[in-house]
């Protein structure tokens, strides 16, 4: 085990090409999914936090369900949608990603992260003093300016929601395995590579990948704690 650990550290320090390729793809897929989740989740979170409408509770219940959705079920859902006989796959449109591509993994990870970004954003927006809305309107804000001001006031909670979304997908394995297929040089990411290398008995590479994943998770949590600490220190 020690030998494997030393070798793992060596692979990291020498920036092993295979290792770096997997890390780069992981960050690219997760980064793109996070961007999509943020673009979809923040406006939805702000809308649900500020607006009262018929069916709002149902939408929130669905969003909370999405937050607790098992990734492997999301993988199954996306697999069925995108497979050649699925409702989207059979359309053959170039905009619809094919199975076993990084784009399909992005779709799955977006579905996993977006309810989390939306849910935490909604909670952050709702925690802003309700009197602020009336105050900014009294100062002449338009509805858009009001929403933007409240979003800025909730900024720490919103950033936390994005970090939480990142944390939920960078370490996810079930969905990306199902829709990505863990194809070398194409869809192999940190988590799927760890599974494969462990089953092959190449503990050095698996451990190096695991250390990088742990490092990313640690940096994510540290950022969250720093932001929350800044809010708590006030």
């Amino acid at each position: 085990m020690w030998q494997s650990l030393v070798r793992a550290i060596y692979l990291i320090l020498t920036r092993d090409a295979a290792l770096m390729e997997i890390v780069a793809l992981s960050l690219r897929v997760t980064g793109t999914a996070l961007l999509c989740s943020t673009i979809l989740g923040i406006p939805l979170g702000v809308f649900l936090g500020l607006k009262r409408f018929i069916g709002r509770r149902m939408v929130i219940a669905l969003m909370y369900t999405g937050m607790g959705f098992p990734p492997v079920v999301v993988g199954l859902f996306v697999y069925m949608l995108l497979s050649r006989s699925g409702p989207l796959g059979r359309l053959g449109w170039p905009i619809i990603p094919s199975l076993f591509t990084p784009a399909a993994m992005v779709v799955a990870q977006t579905i996993i992260a977006f309810p989390m970004v939306a849910g935490f954003t909604m909670a952050a927006v709702m925690s802003v003093d309700p009197g602020l809305r009336q105050q900014v309107q009294a100062l002449g804000a338009t509805p858009w300016q009001t929403a933007l001001t409240i979003l800025l006031e909730a900024r720490i909670g919103v950033i936390t929601s994005i970090i939480a979304g990142f944390g939920s997908i960078i370490s996810e394995v079930g969905a990306v395995m199902m829709v990505g297929g863990n194809i070398e040089h194409s869809t192999r990411v940190l988590t799927t590579a760890i599974v494969l290398e462990t089953s092959k008995g190449d503990f050095s590479l698996a451990m190096a990948l695991g250390l990088i994943l742990l490092g990313l998770a640690f940096v994510t949590n540290l950022s969250m704690l720093r932001l929350q600490g800044r809010a708590l220190d006030r």
Partner: protein, 243 residues
Amino acid sequence: MSEFIYLLRNVTKVYDGRCVLRVDYLGIRQGEIFAVVGPSGAGKSTLLRLLNFLEPPTTGHIRFLDAEFNPVQPMPLELRRRVTTVFQRPVLLDRSVWANVTYGLWLRGQRDSDALVQAVLDQVGLAALAHQRARTLSGGEAQRVALARAMVLQPDVLLLDEPTANLDPYNVGLIEDIVRALNRDHGVTVVLVTHNVFQARRLAHRAALLLGGELIEVAEAEVFFQSPRDPRTKAFVRGEMVY
């Protein structure tokens, strides 16, 4: 042009089937300090929200300058921005005092107003705290930031919703002086809502009593406080319980 900056006719406001405000007729003159007194729950804050166009009346019309505000006709943004409110509880942004004071200017796209902001901060005695975080201020300082935030907008109408409730006498005096100066030197119309009869008496040119959502009496300050016509006004002015 009418002597009234506001003219309210047959205005009602209903929440959840309950009528909380009914004003058959009320004119507020340009350049006056108009005090609305009454106990808690009388509809004073509701009246201010209507005057700031934050929500429409359920029925009736509010004429402001030459524009009409009613249940189906919103007030145009440029006119809405000529009115602002200082609320009883100042809700400040989680930023510096300076950022709070310039916020309304930022909404209007006015970026080069440093001299004006500095002058207003001097006037409210907060120049030394300009770069301090607003949420670290005392209640009196926070209310002065809220007042400064309204003043930099140079509004035609300043609505004050119990602006000195819970403040110490020093801050009460300071805020009253600023309000008087705004009205006297800049011709700002002030509508002051308060349950503090003494404050209304110190500041107002005219006053009104609101009870149970209905206007009981509107009169010149001297008449209102010294020889009111309605017995309920008389009782309220004397500090007797009328509700």
